[in-house]
């Protein structure tokens, strides 16, 4: 899933349009995934009503070596709820749901390989997937430009 999400990002015009046409010909599904950010340094890649969530490269560098990821529970969450934490240098940092919905999958690989959060925070080191309950909330998230600016101001 994360791989297909990645390639959708790399080839938005060719591949995911084709996929979208094949997979959901009758719907007006968006043709390519949207990547958004939060002020808590999380990213969310929204594709067909499901958001894949992780921490940004900026976040992993600010945290240092991550030794443990406390994964979300599979349940309904409200935007802003704590959905687990990541631990680095003896500090546990909470992760927040960037959007309301239902947690439908967590990245179990992180149990054995928390280092993925440092090595590939925005691809293989994803944290969980949330099925969005309200697409309305997407507009409150930051786009790439706004997030970049936020990082520059913050640090």
């Amino acid at each position: 899933m994360s791989l297909s999400a990645l390639s959708a990002r790399l080839f938005p015009t060719i591949r995911s349009q084709a996929v979208a046409r094949m997979a959901a010909p009758a719907s007006f599904a968006r043709f390519y995934a949207t990547k958004k950010y939060t002020a808590e340094h999380e990213w969310i890649l929204i594709d067909n009503g499901v958001g894949t969530i992780g921490i940004t490269d900026h976040a992993q560098s600010a945290l240092g070596e991550i030794v443990f990821a406390e994964l979300a529970e599979l349940k309904d969450v409200e935007k802003g709820d704590t959905i687990g934490s990541v631990e680095s240098v003896k500090a546990a940092s909470d992760i927040y749901a960037p959007i309301s919905g239902k947690v439908i999958e967590v990245n179990e690989k992180l149990n054995d390989e928390p280092a993925l959060l440092n090595d590939a925070p925005e691809t293989d080191g994803w944290l969980c997937k949330i099925e969005l309950s309200s697409e309305d909330e997407i507009k409150d998230l930051l786009d790439e430009e706004a997030y970049k600016q936020f990082c520059e101001e913050a640090h």
Binding site: G64, V67, A115
Partner: protein, 297 residues
């Protein structure tokens, strides 16, 4: 993105870690109030911290919202000068408690028999939301819980922890004890002997939990556990190192306050001098467990 030079590409280190700033990127925040609380049961300390963290997050949100609706410039600069004004440093001496870190909660926790064994030693056992692994807190140990907003001081979590280590090293130095950091987080006298432990929780840039420096702690409690998950290491105290039984938390506090202030570039003031009402409400909560006075503030 990771940028490894061609010659480093095959080494085991995964990324080049940026160094922390040698000074706080944005000092000159308002004075930081501190309060010393003795005989505090651990769970009560945790609840108090959570209350103070939530309060800080709420007050910061109110400030940001006010700024967003476009207050005039004088108002805006007044708001900026409020940044960090709700920071607070709790200095605590706990009743005997073993605590475990976030990753060892629930299913990963110690067995019931092990918890029972620790309780028989006269300590309670608590699972905490901080980072790190099992450790001991009790009389004779200076526990500091800085409730700080990392946003205005522009400090990353990694560098915040490194600054806590520096503050402890500065405190030890005032006693003439040379302390250092090693690859294992915390403060050490050498590779084997640890004098202070660190375990932090960060929620929306607000820190809680913090550090535990052994002044004249009964070190026997540490022999009952594999402290911080590191076997073959030893825990020591200022009193033991200096061979001076008169050293205790109260005598170390002035040095700690000075060391912490130097490292974080902030003047520290007793809470009672800055906000008498808050000081009394905190003390009353610690005595009774009743939040009502605090909530009214």
């Amino acid at each position: 993105m990771l940028s490894l030079g061609p010659l480093q590409a095959s080494t085991t280190t995964t990324s080049t870690v940026p160094t922390c700033p040698s000074q706080i990127p944005r000092p000159r925040l308002p004075p930081l109030p501190y309060i010393y609380l003795r005989n505090l049961p651990y769970h009560r300390g945790s609840d108090l911290q959570q209350f103070l963290v939530d309060r800080q997050i709420r007050l910061r949100k109110e400030r940001e919202d006010k700024r967003a609706v476009g207050a005039d410039e004088t108002q805006q600069s007044a708001d900026l000068s409020e940044e960090g004004s709700h920071d607070l440093l709790l200095i605590v001496e706990h009743t005997p408690t073993y605590t475990n870190g976030r990753r060892n909660r629930g299913a990963q926790a110690i067995s019931d028999q092990e918890a029972d064994r620790l309780k028989k030693l006269g300590a309670t056992y608590v699972e905490s939301l901080r980072g790190g692994e099992i450790t001991y807190h009790g009389p004779g140990q200076l526990v500091a819980y800085p409730i700080l907003d990392l946003k205005p001081i522009k400090l990353s979590v990694r560098c915040y922890v490194s600054y806590l280590e520096k503050a402890i090293i500065a405190t030890c130095a005032e006693w003439g004890v040379r302390a250092m950091t090693t690859e294992n987080t915390g403060v050490w006298l050498n590779d084997q002997q640890k004098i202070a432990a660190i375990g932090v929780h960060v929620q929306r840039y607000i820190t809680s939990h913090g550090l535990a420096l052994n002044c004249n702690t009964d070190l026997e409690y540490f022999n009952q556990i594999v402290a911080c998950g590191l076997s073959g290491k030893e825990t020591t105290s200022l009193s033991k190192e200096l061979g001076d039984p008169s050293i205790n938390v109260a005598t170390v506090i002035p040095m700690f306050v000075s060391g912490f202030g130097k490292v974080f570039e902030r003047s520290l003031v007793p809470l009672e001098d800055k906000d008498k009402a808050l000081e009394q409400a905190v003390r009353e909560y610690c005595q009774t467990g009743d939040f009502s006075k605090l909530k009214d503030l």
